[in-house]
């Protein structure tokens, strides 16, 4: 056994046993972040905080929520909303945070795409981040089912039916996922388990991995400049703080992060108290009814773009069924971001404004995603269906031409 000497303070006693000083250095005071960054680099801390809000508000909701098709609706809309002290607040905090967390995820993602922070050594940051996006999506969907309103029920119906598109075993798979021939009590209880246990714990694990993936390639910076972090850290520690290109995570980087977080939290609580309605669809205040589909159903705003890709293909093309094309396009839309680091054929890391063609590509993608989001909410008839179709085709084409686009930039610059 290691030899222990008498400690003179509680801190020293703990330090002997847990080596907290070194741990603190590695994780906080000597974890180096580039200086040349802007407020967009604060999104990670915002996301971690929002996830914390979701966990805490979720714990309070879970104490009164009842996962049973006969009780769920009233436990939310009567017990939590009207009887529990501040129950309404916890519900609105949870619902609004679930919506806002996707806004921040999208900003975080597109910041990464814009500055090229997904490639040349940073692939694992990108992949673990996309896994977080997927698990958050699953958590959002499973949570949406819990109030057991009409939107909960029909969203569950449509999403579970998507698995019917799996070749051969599709129909059996749908019944297996639901535990019944339609969306029923067995479905609600198992999605409750996923929402309150398996998905949150998976998310926590992946967050740990996501932080760790930053360790070796380090955080990117505004001009995508490459430098030796150890060298710059030495300069900082030697007192050349001005000259050094890095700052420690704690307390320097975090101080600016917390300022951005303050602005974000004011915005978030403004929504919670005065504009929570955007996250509380009125249709979901009708109890679930398996015999009546609401006149018009749509997912929450953050799923609209991929939903529109799914339904954009509304007619058969060259013998392929519209259903299958839509499903393949949907799978493509949800999977393609994962391989982004390999679609980008430019060997240099540069921000988009230094990659002329990629810059155009990036903003077309943004515009296309906005069009898909807007039309995803509109009824799929007449002109709307065609706008959806062309926007969905454009989305797929954008990713197919990305290798060419990035090569053109690299060639012009002389890097290829």
């Amino acid at each position: 056994m290691a030899k222990f000497e008498k400690a003179n303070s509680v801190g020293e006693w703990l330090d002997q046993r847990l080596n907290l000083t070194t741990f603190n250095k590695v994780m906080m005071t000597e974890y180096w972040i580039p200086k040349d960054i802007n407020f967009l680099w604060a999104m990670g801390v915002l996301l971690a905080t929002t996830f914390g809000i979701l966990i805490i508000s979720g714990i309070f909701l879970m104490m009164y929520y009842k996962p049973d098709i006969g009780l769920a609706f009233d436990s939310v809309n009567y017990t939590i909303m009207q009887e529990v002290a501040f129950g309404w607040l916890f519900r609105h905090m949870h619902g609004v945070a679930a919506s806002v967390v996707f806004l921040i995820i999208y900003i975080h993602m597109f910041t990464g795409i814009y500055y090229g922070s997904y490639k040349q050594g940073r692939e694992m940051i990108w992949i673990s981040g996309m896994l977080l996006f997927m698990t958050f999506s699953a958590a959002g969907f499973s949570g949406y089912m819990l109030p057991w309103g009409q939107m909960s029920y029909w969203a569950a119906m449509v999403i579970t039916n998507l698995f019917g598109g799996v070749p051969v075993i599709g129909d059996a798979l749908v019944v297996w996922i639901r535990g019944d021939f339609n969306v029923a009590d067995a479905t609600l209880t198992r999605f409750f388990m996923l929402h309150v246990f398996l998905l949150p714990i998976t998310i926590m694990g992946i967050i740990g991995v996501h932080f760790y993936t930053l360790r070796i390639p380090h955080v990117n910076n505004q001009s995508s400049e490459e430098f030796d972090f150890d060298e710059e850290a030495e300069k900082y520690l030697a007192g050349n703080k001005k000259e050094s290109k890095v700052i420690p995570f704690w307390p320097v980087f975090i101080s600016k992060d917390l300022a951005v977080l303050g602005v974000f939290l004011i915005f978030y609580f403004y929504l919670v108290f005065f504009h929570y309605n955007f996250a509380m669809d009125p249709v979901n205040f009708d109890p679930a009814d398996n015999m009546v589909t609401p006149a018009h159903i749509y997912p929450e705003w953050y799923f609209l773009w991929s939903y529109e890709v799914l339904r954009g293909f509304f007619f058969d093309i060259a013998g392929f069924k519209a259903f299958d094309i839509g499903l393949i396009a949907f799978a493509f839309a949800n999977g393609i971001f994962l391989v982004l680091p390999w679609l980008d054929r430019d060997p240099k890391i540069l921000p988009a404004h230094k990659r002329p063609v990629f810059f155009i590509w990036f903003w077309i993608l943004m515009a296309d995603l906005i069009v898909l989001t807007v039309y995803g909410k509109l009824p799929p008839t007449g002109t709307n269906a065609w706008v959806g179709f062309f926007a969905a085709v454009a989305f797929i084409l954008l990713f197919l031409v990305l290798p060419i686009v990035t090569k053109i930039d690299a060639k012009k610059r002389g890097s290829l």
């Binding site: 119906m157 449509v158 021939f181 015999m291 589909t293 509304f314 009824p379």
Partner: protein, 166 residues
């Protein structure tokens, strides 16, 4: 390979074998825990009296938690292979869930229209527009006089199912 490595390998392989058997068995168990319960599987047969239906307007019944459309065809509606003929009358019997993603289409004048993704089905339950990949599904049924029992596979059902496959 030395003798010692062989012994350690043997221990390793034996553990791998135990773990594989146990792992596979627990996967089967976990898979089955998610299967529909016996009470769900046993759930219900529904009897529908056809003689009370009005021609040209479909009615909706419930079977296993799913809506079932039964339409008595009016004279101007076109005949189809899947028509259930009882006496003089022709009926369309279908599970009322859009074959695209499972919303319930609503009857509008002379067809079922799905609000979710715009799919349409005619009076014979055949898809005529939008993403549905196939006609509305046929529920199993048997015919007794002028009534049908959903959940039982009668000869009339088998004949129609075969005609739809062809």
């Amino acid at each position: 390979m030395s003798k010692e490595t062989n012994r350690r390998d043997f221990i390793g392989y034996s553990f791998a074998a135990v773990a594989a058997v146990g792992g596979a068995a627990s996967l089967v168990g976990m898979k089955q825990a998610w299967d529909p319960l016996p009470s769900v599987l046993a759930g219900g047969f529904t009897e529908i009296e056809l003689s009370n239906l009005k021609a040209g307007t479909p009615e909706t019944f419930t079977w296993r938690g799913k809506p079932i459309f039964v339409l008595k065809k009016s004279a101007d509606m076109e005949k189809a292979d899947r028509d259930l003929v009882v006496g003089e009358d022709r009926f369309t019997v279908a599970i009322g869930l859009c074959t695209h993603l499972g919303c319930i289409p609503a009857w509008k004048k002379d067809m079922w229209k799905c609000a979710c993704h715009g799919g349409e089905f005619n009076a014979s339950a055949t898809q005529t527009f939008g993403p549905p990949p196939r006609p509305l599904d046929l529920p199993p049924f048997s015919v007794k006089g002028t009534a049908i029992t959903l959940g039982e596979e009668g000869p009339e059902y088998k004949a129609i199912a075969a005609a739809m496959m062809a």
